[in-house]
């Protein structure tokens, strides 16, 4: 499958389903069936077994033809985390059941991993899954930080199936039907006033054994696929010079000379350098990946971004002086997406605090860099070889 073949296929799709004439969902289903959804996926599962890099060719052609897309940011958890896991660990039946409506966006997915008592130490999770008399599983527990839980049809879920073995060994990975009557979703309001996330309470939720992904007790390993894909998704955005938050701040600086002070000027220059260095770091990483020389630098992207975002938004509030004392809206809302640009400085300042927590805290990322990149030895651990039920909580 080369570039020319792909273009031919795209043109065939467009001819059979002219975007301006057919329903969006029909088009997306047809695109999936033509293997043009994610070309590196296997035949019959929305792909053609082609190199991943060729996806860009397809996307460009379709965009040029005015074809609708599947609104990837809205269904990011399904695309970025559930799909790679289902592809790797799912049975053929599971793959055919779930991947098509996942990709078209007909079925939204969410993630039931974190718990109030298991944050950075995710493997300590306490949600229990116990087999019932009919050979299904019954799940009880509480999950938290679940975005899209209120719109999701399915969830990827990890739960403890054996408390008598060390914590990493007794976990199993399931797909949970969010319409089960035992699933209760409650919005989780954040310091910004919004509720981007939810708490999810699971009470005797039934999961058929056929909705298990991977073997019983292998859930931690399966979850690594999910989590590795999360980190890639967060770290990999390309930005032009003065893209992102630095651009907002620099524009305010240029347009409003009355706000400038000597102190703020020095800080702005420092932030500008930091932003440009971070941009160049990301650019170098992308060039390395493109050249087939993946370096360890990827681990640092999220860490650097979080710090810069927090510094820039704190600066912006100070720069705005009196305006910085205001806030745009405290109303409890449930936004589908986080939008730093559509809100005011105070929102950005508060929301950026989450950048160093969500998707792996900066503390955990520093541990990872120190151990996996620099090769520094781990700390002495007391939690690895002890049965989960004997751990202190």
């Amino acid at each position: 499958m080369n570039e020319a073949d792909l273009r031919t296929r795209v043109h065939e799709l467009l001819a059979a389903y002219p975007p301006s004439e057919v329903d969006t969902l029909d088009f997306l289903r047809a695109r999936f069936d033509a293997g043009l959804a994610w070309v590196h996926f296997p035949l019959g599962l929305g792909g053609l077994g082609a190199p991943r890099t060729l996806q860009a060719v397809v996307d460009a052609e379709l965009t040029a033809a005015g074809a609708p897309d599947n609104d990837p940011r809205r269904i990011g958890i399904g695309l970025g985390m559930a799909a790679p896991t289902i592809l790797r660990y799912g049975t053929a039946e599971q793959q055919h059941r779930w991947l098509r409506p996942l990709w078209t966006g007909e079925e939204v997915w969410c993630q039931l991993f974190s718990e109030p008592g298991a944050g950075s130490d995710l493997a300590a999770l306490a949600t229990r899954a116990v087999p019932d008399a009919e050979g299904s599983w019954r799940v009880n527990g509480q999950k938290v930080w679940t975005s899209s839980a209120h719109t999701a049809r399915w969830a990827i879920l990890i739960a403890r199936t054996d408390p008598a073995v060390p914590k990493h060994q007794g976990i199993t990975y399931f797909v949970c039907d969010m319409t089960d009557p035992g699933v209760q979703v409650r919005p989780l309001r954040q310091l910004t006033g919004e509720a981007e996330f939810n708490e999810v309470f699971l009470t005797d939720v039934r999961i058929p054994d056929s909705d298990r992904l991977g073997a019983v007790g292998e859930g931690w390993r399966v979850a690594q696929t999910t989590l590795n894909n999360e980190r890639v998704a967060i770290g990999g955005q390309r930005t032009p010079r003065e893209g992102g938050l630095i651009g907002i701040v620099a524009e305010t600086w240029r347009e409003r000379p009355e706000l400038r002070t000597a102190e703020l000027h020095q800080r702005l220059l420092q932030h500008w350098v930091d932003a440009e260095v971070l941009r160049l770091t990301g650019e170098r990483l992308r060039q390395q990946l493109a050249a087939g020389q993946p370096g360890p630098e990827g681990a640092g992207g999220k860490l650097g971004f979080a710090r810069l975002a927090q510094q820039l938004t704190a600066f912006e509030v100070e720069l705005l002086a009196e305006e910085g004392l205001g806030y745009d809206d405290w109303t409890l809302r449930r936004p589908e997406l986080v939008d730093f640009n559509g809100r005011e400085a105070g929102y950005r300042y508060l929301r950026a605090k989450g950048n160093s927590i969500e998707g792996g805290t900066s503390e955990i990322l520093r541990n990872i860099i120190a151990e996996r990149v620099l090769g520094l030895p781990p700390e002495p651990r007391t939690d690895k070889d002890v049965p989960w039920k004997e751990l202190s909580r």
Binding site: S114, P116, A118, G119, S120, D121, A124, V144, W145, L188, R189, Q190, L191, G193, T261, A262, E263, L264, Q310, A314, V317, E318, A321, E322, G324, L325, G326, Y327, D328, D329, W330, G346, Y349, L350, K353, G354, S356, I357, E358, T361, S362, E363, R366, R381, T382, D383, V386, L391, S392, R393
Partner: protein
């Protein structure tokens, strides 16, 4: 220079803290914020009228700015929703004391943007006209102390309207004040009075910032002692311990600096402006850092509305802008300490 707390000051602190603990626990503050309820008049009555803290600025009545600072530490620690800063600090300082305010029966404020700036209200024949945005403690004020162009101070008791603003700091909401030909009484023509009131405000605000920082440090330490991950208390992880040790050192410095500013203001020391600039620069920074560390080290829970940490972050950030940013105070220092650009 006395940087300690006297016995009387410690007793005052204990009374204020007990009262706030009973009448305004942080859960109640959060509930008021969530219900958009603003200041608590009953709390103000208990604090100002019954405990008498609104009159502490008056040396003749046995008070002292050192004691006012102690009250502000406790108000910072509790975020109790009261107009103490506007009324008992700023307006009182601008008026050189006022019986109505001292009794707590009425409250006032100083009508300037909380972030500072020169007066813009115009006065003609004893009547005042202008719009002043982002005024602290104006929503409940009976009595406005209004600086006018040139720096004279007037008192206005009617002929004004106050409109609330949506504020970053939810426990000290700001408001816009419109004066439309409002009748005023002249307080003073001397612009030095306004300047001194702002100096007093900035110097004492450092004590509020100290209180914020202490709450954040203490709360974080307690949380990390209890919260376990990886079969250990989080507080046993060395990277976190070192950060908290550094933060502790900054808070210790904040206490010394805030005390020095309060003492210098109380004793009208010649270096009071310099010590105010030092305290405002240091404490404004420390409070924000403490609140940011508090949020980060609480992990996800610190990001939630139901945990009070965010109220401290919002107060700390707003206080950093209030009455001059740390950068502004360091710029003042350039003159005061003879360190020219």
């Amino acid at each position: 220079m006395n940087l300690l707390y006297s016995e009387i000051e410690e007793e005052l602190r204990a009374s204020v803290r007990d009262l706030l603990h009973d009448r305004s626990p942080i859960e109640a503050v959060l509930a008021r914020v969530s219900a958009d309820q603003g200041y608590d008049p009953a709390l103000w009555r208990a604090l100002a009228v019954e405990l008498g803290v609104a009159g502490l600025q008056d040396p003749a009545a046995g008070g002292s700015l050192r004691e006012v600072a102690v009250v502000l530490e406790e108000l910072g620690r509790s975020l109790a929703p009261t107009p103490f800063l506007g009324s008992a600090v700023l307006a009182t300082a601008a008026l050189g004391g006022d019986e109505r305010l001292a009794s707590g029966e009425r409250t006032g404020t100083l009508v300037l943007p909380f972030s500072g700036g020169a007066p813009s209200v115009r006065e003609t024949g004893g009547r005042l006209t202008g719009r002043v945005t982002s005024v602290a403690d104006a929503l409940t004020a009976d009595l406005l102390v209004v600086p006018v162009v040139g720096g004279a101070l007037w008192v206005v008791e009617r002929g004004f309207t106050v409109t609330p603003r949506t504020s970053l700091d939810q426990t000290r909401p700001l408001a816009d004040v419109v004066l439309d030909d409002a009748p005023g009484q002249l307080v003073t023509e001397d612009p030095a009075v306004l300047e001194h009131a702002l100096l007093t405000g900035a110097g004492l605000l450092a004590s509020e910032q100290l209180g914020i920082a202490e709450w954040c440090l203490t709360t974080t330490v307690e949380y990390l002692r209890e919260r376990r991950q990886f079969n250990r208390p989080l507080g046993s992880f060395q990277a976190l311990k070192h950060r908290l040790a550094d933060l502790w050192l900054e808070v210790v410095g904040a206490r010394a600096a805030a005390r020095a500013a309060a003492d210098a203001l109380a004793s009208e020391a010649a270096d009071a402006p310099l010590l105010v600039a030092v305290a405002a620069s240091h404490c404004g920074t420390v409070a924000v850092r403490a609140a940011e560390e508090c949020i980060q080290l609480h992990g996800g829970i610190g990001m939630t509305w139901e945990h009070p940490a965010h109220l401290y972050l919002k107060r700390a950030k707003a206080d950093q802008l209030a009455l001059g940013t740390p950068g502004h105070h360091r710029a003042r220092l350039a003159e005061l300490a003879n360190l020219p650009a």
